[in-house]
C-alpha cells in the first residue's frame, strides 16, 4: 500500500439554508455550479489533483443525493487500488446509539476509527461549500517547513467584509497570534477559508478531550482552534491567492456563475493542468437552433437553444424554446424555458419549467429572483 501521509476529510453536512429552496432536498455541497459541476467537485478535484488518495466525506443534512454522488470516486479518478471516497454519515454505535454530529470537530471525532485505519501523519480538513482551485500539497509543504501543529489557509478579504469571517491576526512569519470569530472590529483582513492541516497524533488527543468537554460546541472555529492557541500550540496561516467563493446565497451563487462568462476569470475552468472533474452525462453536444441568438453565454452539453440567450449560464439538459428570451440568468440542470417566455435576472432551479409566453424576473431588481416552482404558460 502506498504511504498515505495526508488524508482528507470534507465537511459536507450543512444545509446552506440561505440558498432557500435550492437546498430543500439536497445539501449545499450537492448544489449545481458552473454548467456541469456540483460544488463538492471542487474540493474533491483539488484532492485528486493534489495527490491525495483517501477522502472521507462527512454528510448529515439531506444526504441521499450527496452520498450516492460522492461515493462514485471514479468521477474524480479516486478509484485506484489504494484510493477512494468514503461517505461517513452519523451512525449508530454499540454503547451510545445513534446521534447526530454536534459540530464540525465532532464529525471528525466520531470517525477517529476510520482515520486510524489509514494511520496518516496529517489530516486535511476541508469544507464542501466553496468554489476554488488549490494545491493542498503546497500547503502541506508549508506546514512541514514551519513545523506547525496546525496550518490554516487564509485569504485577504476587503476590510469592511472582514466581520463576516473568522479573522486571523498573525506575526510577521505567519504564526497566528489571535483568532477572532466574526469580530465587530477586525484587526486584520486575513479570513479563514475553513481549510486546516493538523498533525493527526496531536489532533486525535485533542478531539478525545473535546468530545468529553460539556462546554464545547465541538466546532473548529468556536472551540478547537481557540483551545489550540490557548494551549500555546504553533499555528500558522497559509496565505492563498486566487479565486475563492463561498456561494452561500442565491445572489452569490448567481454571481459566481456569471463570473465564468469572462474569459480571463481567475477560476479558469479551462486550465488543462488543473481540471475540475464531475459526473459525465451521456448527452448530445449542445444544439444551437437555426433561429437562435446566443450572446455572451456559458453552455454545457445536453443544452438546446432555439431562442435568444444573453449573459447566461446554461446547465446540463436545459432548453430555451423558439422566441424565448433569457437574459442575465442561470438555468440549473433540466430547467426549461418554453417558446416565447421571457426570463430576466433570475436563477431557475433544477427541472423548473417556465411555460409558454410567461414572463419572470425584472432587469431592475436588486436581488436575483429564485424560480423554484414551475411557472404556468401565459397566452
Amino acid at each position: 500500500m502506498k504511504q498515505n501521509s495526508m488524508l482528507a476529510m470534507i465537511l459536507a453536512g450543512g444545509r446552506g439554508s440561505r440558498l432557500k429552496d435550492l437546498t430543500n432536498k439536497v445539501a449545499k455541497p450537492a448544489v449545481s455550479f458552473g454548467g456541469k459541476y456540483r460544488i463538492i467537485d471542487f474540493p474533491l478535484s483539488n484532492c485528486a489533483n493534489s495527490g491525495i488518495d483517501v477522502v472521507g466525506v462527512l454528510t448529515q443534512y439531506e444526504s441521499v443525493q450527496l452520498n450516492s454522488y460522492a461515493a462514485a470516486g471514479r468521477n474524480w479518478g479516486l478509484d485506484s487500488r489504494d484510493s477512494g471516497t468514503f461517505i461517513l454519515p452519523p451512525r449508530e454505535k454499540a454503547d451510545e446509539g445513534l446521534k447526530e454530529y454536534r459540530g464540525t470537530a465532532d464529525a471528525i471525532s466520531e470517525n477517529i476509527d476510520f482515520i486510524d485505519n489509514y494511520d496518516p501523519e496529517y489530516i486535511l480538513i476541508l469544507s464542501g461549500d466553496h468554489i476554488y482551485k488549490m494545491n493542498y500539497s503546497k500547503m502541506l509543504a508549508f506546514h512541514k517547513e514551519h513545523k506547525a501543529d496546525a496550518t490554516i489557509a487564509v485569504i485577504g478579504v476587503p476590510k469592511k467584509e472582514a466581520s463576516r469571517f473568522g479573522i486571523m491576526n498573525t506575526a510577521e512569519d505567519g504564526r497566528i497570534i489571535e483568532f477572532q470569530e466574526k469580530p465587530k472590529q477586525p484587526k486584520s483582513n486575513l479570513a479563514s477559508m475553513g481549510i486546516y492541516i493538523f498533525n493527526w497524533k496531536l489532533m486525535r488527543r485533542m478531539l478525545l478531550a473535546d468530545m468529553k468537554n460539556e462546554n464545547s460546541h465541538h466546532d473548529f472555529g468556536k472551540d478547537f482552534i481557540p483551545t489550540m492557541l490557548k494551549d500555546g500550540k504553533s499555528l500558522y496561516a497559509y496565505k492563498f491567492k486566487g479565486y475563492w467563493k463561498d456561494v452561500g446565497t442565491i445572489d452569490s451563487l448567481w454571481e459566481a456563475n456569471m463570473d465564468l462568462l469572462e474569459g480571463g476569470n481567475e477560476l479558469d475552468l479551462a486550465d488543462p493542468s488543473w481540471r475540475i472533474y464531475t459526473e459525465d452525462a451521456p448527452e448530445l453536444p449542445q444544439y444551437i437552433g437555426p433561429e437562435a441568438e446566443v450572446g455572451s453565454a456559458y453552455v454545457t452539453q445536453g443544452c438546446r437553444i432555439e431562442g435568444k440567450v444573453d449573459r447566461c449560464v446554461l446547465f446540463t439538459g436545459t432548453s430555451v424554446g423558439k422566441g424565448a428570451k433569457v437574459t442575465d440568468t442561470v438555468l440549473m440542470p433540466d430547467a426549461c424555458v418554453e417558446d416565447g417566455a421571457k426570463v430576466t435576472r433570475a436563477l431557475v432551479a433544477n427541472g423548473v419549467k417556465i411555460g409558454k409566453g410567461a414572463v419572470v424576473g425584472n432587469a431592475k431588481s436588486e436581488e436575483i429572483l429564485l424560480v423554484a416552482e414551475d411557472v404556468p404558460a401565459k397566452e
Binding site: R74, L269, P285, Q301
Partner: protein, 371 residues
C-alpha cells in the same frame, strides 16, 4: 444478456475514406462533435445487456484502444463483462487477404472459448441503434440459422456506395446479398449485422478458409444460401453508413436537423462515449452561432453556421465558419473564413484567410496541419 456475445466487425478493406483513415480506422472517426462511430454499436450492445464485446481492429489501433479503454464508459460490468480489442496477426492495409474472416480465424481460440451460445455481429462504420435482445428473440422464434438486418432506403442509386443489398423472398428469406450497383433507388441495404449460434459461426469461418483465402463473412453466407435458412429483419429508425468522405460529411450535417437527431439519440437508449472533463463552452458577446452542434470546451468568438464543433475548438474573432466539421482542439484564427471543410483534430487555419469549397466537394485539413 448472457445468451449472446457481441462482435464489432473490422471495417472491410474496401471501405476507404480519403485522407482520414491514414490516422484511424473508420470506427474511430470522431462524430458529431463528441462521439466516435464505434460508440453506436458498443452502446447498443451494452444497452441490450450484452456483457462480452469483441472489437476487431485491423489497422492503426492506437486511437481505438485509447478511446474504448476498459469499457467502463459503456456501462459494461467490470467483473462479469469485458470489452476486448482483437487484432489481426498481420495487418497490411488494403490487402484483399485482410478480410473479416481472416481476423476471426486469427482469433479462433478466443471465439471457441466464448460460453455464450449466440453471437451478434455488427459493423464499425454504420450508425444506428438496435435492441439486440429483441433481434435475438426474433431469430430464435423464426428458427432461422442466420438472421441478418437490412434497412429499406429509396436513394441507393446515389448513396450507400460500397454497401451490399439484400434480396428477399416473400417470407423474408434471404435470396442473395450482392453489391449495391447503384442502378436502383429502392433497395434493402444490408447492415452487415448477423445473429447466429456461435457453433455455426465457427463452422462458417472454417468453411470460408477452406474455400478461399479472400472470402469474407458475407461471401460464405451467400454461398451457403441453399444449405442454410437465412432470414432478414427490417431495421426501423435512424440508419447511416459511412462509406466515403462525402458520406461522412453528409451524415454529420444531416444530424443538424434536430428531429433527425432525436431519432438517433433517445433518452431511453443513451449513447456512451469517453469523457475528457472539458469545461462548458464559452460564447463571447461577439459570437454568433446558428444551427450548430457544439461540444464542451469550445471558445467561440466568431461566426458559426451549420457546423459541428468538437471538444475544445477555438473560433477566434471575426472568423466565419460555415458548413464545417471542426474536430477537437482545432483553431480557426482571427478573420479566417472556412466553408465546407472538415478540419481534423489539432488543425489550425491561420495564414490562409479563405478556405472555401462547394458542399458537393468538401475539403479536408489534416490532423495537426497548420494552414
Amino acid at each position: 444478456m448472457a445468451r449472446a456475445y457481441g462482435i464489432v466487425a473490422p471495417s472491410g478493406g474496401h471501405m476507404k475514406v480519403e485522407g482520414m483513415d491514414e490516422f484511424r480506422p473508420i470506427s474511430a472517426f470522431s462524430f458529431l462533435g463528441r462521439y466516435r462511430i464505434i460508440d453506436f454499436p458498443v452502446s447498443s450492445m451494452s444497452n441490450s445487456g450484452i456483457e462480452r464485446i469483441q472489437v476487431y481492429v485491423s489497422q492503426n489501433p492506437r486511437s481505438l484502444a485509447e478511446h474504448l479503454g476498459s469499457g467502463r464508459t459503456y456501462n459494461i460490468n467490470s467483473k462479469r463483462g469485458k470489452l476486448q480489442l482483437l487484432f489481426n496477426q498481420d495487418s497490411r492495409v488494403n490487402d484483399v487477404y485482410n478480410t473479416d474472416i481472416k481476423a476471426y480465424a486469427d482469433n479462433m481460440d478466443v471465439i471457441e472459448r466464448m460460453h455464450q451460445p449466440y453471437v451478434i455481429i455488427s459493423p464499425g462504420h454504420m450508425i444506428f441503434t438496435q435492441n439486440y435482445g429483441k433481434l435475438l428473440d426474433e431469430h430464435l422464434q423464426s428458427g432461422a440459422d442466420v438472421t441478418i438486418m437490412y434497412h429499406k432506403v429509396n436513394d441507393a442509386d446515389v448513396a450507400y456506395r460500397n454497401c451490399s443489398v439484400v434480396n428477399l423472398n416473400r417470407q423474408k428469406g434471404v435470396k442473395s446479398i450482392e453489391r449495391n450497383t447503384g442502378t436502383v433507388a429502392e433497395r434493402n441495404i444490408f447492415m452487415d449485422t448477423y445473429v447466429m449460434s456461435n457453433e455455426l459461426f465457427m463452422k462458417l469461418i472454417h468453411k470460408a478458409r477452406e474455400i478461399s483465402s479472400v472470402y469474407r463473412l458475407v461471401d460464405i453466407i451467400n454461398a451457403q444460401n441453399e444449405a442454410l435458412d437465412i432470414r432478414g429483419v427490417q431495421h426501423k429508425g435512424y440508419f447511416a453508413a459511412v462509406t466515403d468522405f462525402k458520406s461522412y460529411f453528409d451524415i454529420n450535417m444531416g444530424l443538424l436537423d434536430w428531429n433527425m437527431a432525436q431519432e438517433l439519440f433517445r433518452d431511453e437508449w443513451p449513447i456512451y462515449t469517453q469523457t475528457t472533463d472539458s469545461c462548458p463552452a464559452r460564447y463571447t458577446p461577439d459570437s454568433s452561432v446558428k444551427n450548430s452542434m457544439v461540444a464542451n470546451g469550445c471558445i467561440i468568438e466568431g461566426k458559426v453556421e451549420n457546423s459541428i464543433l468538437g471538444r475544445g475548438v477555438s473560433i477566434r474573432k471575426g472568423a466565419i465558419v460555415r458548413n464545417c466539421i471542426i474536430m477537437g482542439h482545432a483553431i480557426i484564427d482571427e478573420g479566417v473564413h472556412v466553408e465546407n471543410q472538415v478540419v481534423d483534430k489539432w488543425g489550425r487555419v491561420t495564414n490562409i484567410k479563405e478556405l472555401v469549397t462547394t458542399p458537393d466537394k468538401p475539403g479536408y485539413v489534416r490532423r495537426n496541419d497548420i494552414l
